[in-house]
Symmetry: C2
Subunit: 424 residues, 2 copies
């Protein structure tokens, strides 16, 4: 393989991994670089954060997923820079040459210039985020149980989630289930069902990327779990023990301070730092979120050898608006780039990338979800069942994750959340 | 329940939890205090450290295990002191009065006066220990894969385990399986099977508490997994990048320095700090390991209201030697104390504690274990199967942990270790 075409993929998320798998039997020399040694099934991360699944159940070692691909090498390392002229990826302790480069390093959470909020209002992007949030949520109930003062107890039992996109809705719904079901008989001095769960959203409705009728249904399903939605509202300050909301729209610019020790951040993401590197080194245009504005074939303009996919890419050529940062887009882009490279090696050209939207799903809780398939809108059990089915299908595809399915079936009938550990 | 007899249990390990469960329907007011919010099934902790199971699979929330016991309150907190005269347990932020007190806070690892070794040679007592060891073991292979220098690569691929009791043997055996099986196809520049795994033991044989013929069989089974035992040897120094062994016995006082980045400590334990508190406050006699030398009824001499059980207790009244610090002893002592309290409340006296030794098991790897039942000694598949059966039985007893069974069956046939994550 010494003289084979060298393809380097940076990032082992959905985009990078789908590209790598599609290139497994292509006569190229493939290198996948990731900071972590595992692929993370991010759509289920909120289930780790809320004690339903364990980290090992939604993460697969990258080497294990790819070990049968004899043309593939996995490097655990962090990319520091890219030498575009000499076509080399620079790590702390090595340089990796490439003929084609695929950047798929995704996004991280973003506090809109208020980075001091990060330790007070953690976001949910990594396994460590998830176990830290899990510990915080559970510790809040423990503090409440030990707190004799009613007002202080109420602050411990108040949970604020900033951002009512799919992640915020999932977290809020799971918290509702924890308070109403899971912990129901666990305490002697508090009633967990009295927990206040507030879901704060700047737009006028929850799940603003879904059709209005599904947003309304989601809001109703959330309410059934004890989650109150505060729309047209945004967080203006977060301090130890309180969060300040500015309520716009109808309620007209009123500020409200809420006593709470638990704020979760699901309000914004920013593209990975490699976007900036590509701007500096390859003149890549960036959008406001730091994403690389890619050509119709997902390459950096002027650099047909550099491909950007997934959450780091801003692709507007299909609808005029950027495609959302969701797993299906990344998967399809990963497969597209792999196919485009195969065509290129065969001397053929490829059509531009086209996203096939199979539909949108958001889950809220047991038997509660919403789903959109073009004009078909579904809510409740059918949508939830579909959500479970789709996620298991993708999960099982990588590795045999049937155990997650068994765990879900068991949890469904017992309303169990066995992985609720407070760890350091 | 305001006027009920108040029983306080400190520690939710096997001893404390078995006592708590046995007292669930006794007319007492029961309080269980633990620093952590979960019971840990410690015999399987090495499986988390070696990537076979996830933390959530071997830990059960204490509140969930006990939530049906209406007479029981769980407090998550750390005991700072005991006011023996006024019969109060002192926490950082509260005092809990008792009529009877059960101390079951176990043991931690012990470096025999070399506490500076702890960060270099972690022991295996907590969930955090297990995930930290897991990250270290896996990161060592990652470093080796990236290391061009042969000698340095060899140091990354050298693993030293200090102590060949059951935990050391389990860790060494699992490491042998990881190197020979799990990671076989995962790397491109190293062969994981070339890893050196050294098991260092001060006594003249591995598993010194087992009969000599089983020690010999265990050593042979370990060798089949590539684990070399160094008996009559002890660690005299640990530094970043190397460990020094003093080989006594037949090889006569020779010092040997071994280049390695991974030393695991399974060589010694020290009793929990509450032993010292009991010595200071109640005049409890301690043995060299800091354990409380208890009366035949497991109480502190002169304090019939203070009971000490599990790894913190030194019970010598049966054989003249202290009972070993293993789960079956703690479980039987937990049940004994609960029964003794019930007798006391009924105005009856109890016979002294008697440990019923059902046998000893140590596992080494897939199909590899040793078992002793009095004069019956078993090794190989039969012993291993028994080990699996016994551990599952106990695991399932607390909570439905059938999934661990499913995971094991799956792993057995696929030789999978899916939870091998390097986390921070």
């Amino acid at each position: 393989m010494a003289s084979a075409h060298r393809v380097v993929i940076v990032g082992g998320g959905f985009g990078g991994l789908y590209a790598a798998r599609r290139l497994g039997r292509t006569p190229v020399s493939l290198t996948l670089i990731d900071r972590r040694n595992f692929h993370l099934f991010q759509p289920l991360l909120y289930q780790v954060a809320t004690g339903a699944l364990s980290p090992g159940e939604i993460a697969s070692p990258l080497r294990a997923v790819l070990h049968k691909q004899r043309n593939t090498e996995v490097i655990m390392g962090e990319v520091r820079d890219i030498d575009v002229a000499n076509r080399r990826v620079i790590l702390a302790d090595a340089e990796v040459p490439y003929d084609d480069l695929i950047i798929a390093t995704g996004a991280t959470h973003h506090y809109f210039g208020n980075d001091q909020w990060e330790p007070l209002a953690p976001g949910l992007k990594t396994i460590e985020d998830a176990t830290a949030i899990r510990s915080r949520l559970l510790a809040a109930f423990e503090h409440a149980e030990r707190e004799p003062d009613a007002a202080r107890r109420r602050a411990w039992l108040t949970f604020v989630i900033a951002g009512a996109g799919p992640t915020g809705v999932e977290l809020a719904g799971a918290l509702g289930e924890i308070s109403n079901d899971t912990l129901r008989h666990d305490f002697r001095h508090i009633n967990p069902a009295e927990a206040q769960i507030l879901l704060v959203e700047g737009e006028s409705r929850v799940l603003p990327l879904f059709p209005p009728d599904l947003s309304a249904k989601a809001e109703k399903q959330l309410l059934a779990l004890g989650v109150r939605s505060k729309t047209n509202a945004r967080v203006t300050n977060i301090q130890e023990g309180s969060v300040t909301l500015l309520c716009g729209g109808l309620c007209g610019g009123r500020e409200e301070q809420i006593a709470t020790h638990t704020v979760l951040w699901a309000a914004g993401v920013r593209a990975s730092g490699l976007g900036k590197v590509l701007a500096d080194r390859a003149g890549a245009p960036l959008d406001r979120a730091g994403r690389v504005i890619v050509s119709p074939d997902l390459t950096v303009p002027g650099h047909p050898e550099i491909h950007v996919i997934g959450d780091l890419a801003c692709f507007t050529h299909q609808t005029g608006k950027p495609l959302p940062g969701v797993a299906p887009v990344a998967m399809q882009q990963g497969r597209y780039v792999a196919n485009a490279l195969r065509s290129k090696l065969a001397g053929k050209t490829s059509p531009p990338f086209h996203y096939f939207n199979k539909g949108n799903l958001a889950t809220i809780g047991r038997n509660k979800a919403v789903a959109e398939f073009g004009k078909l809108h579904v809510a409740g059990f059918a949508a939830w069942f579909l959500w479970v089915f789709v996620h298991l299908m993708y999960l099982v595809e990588f590795e045999n994750r049937m155990l997650v399915f068994v765990q879900w079936v068991y949890d469904y009938f017992t309303r169990n959340r066995g992985a609720r550990l407070i760890t350091k």
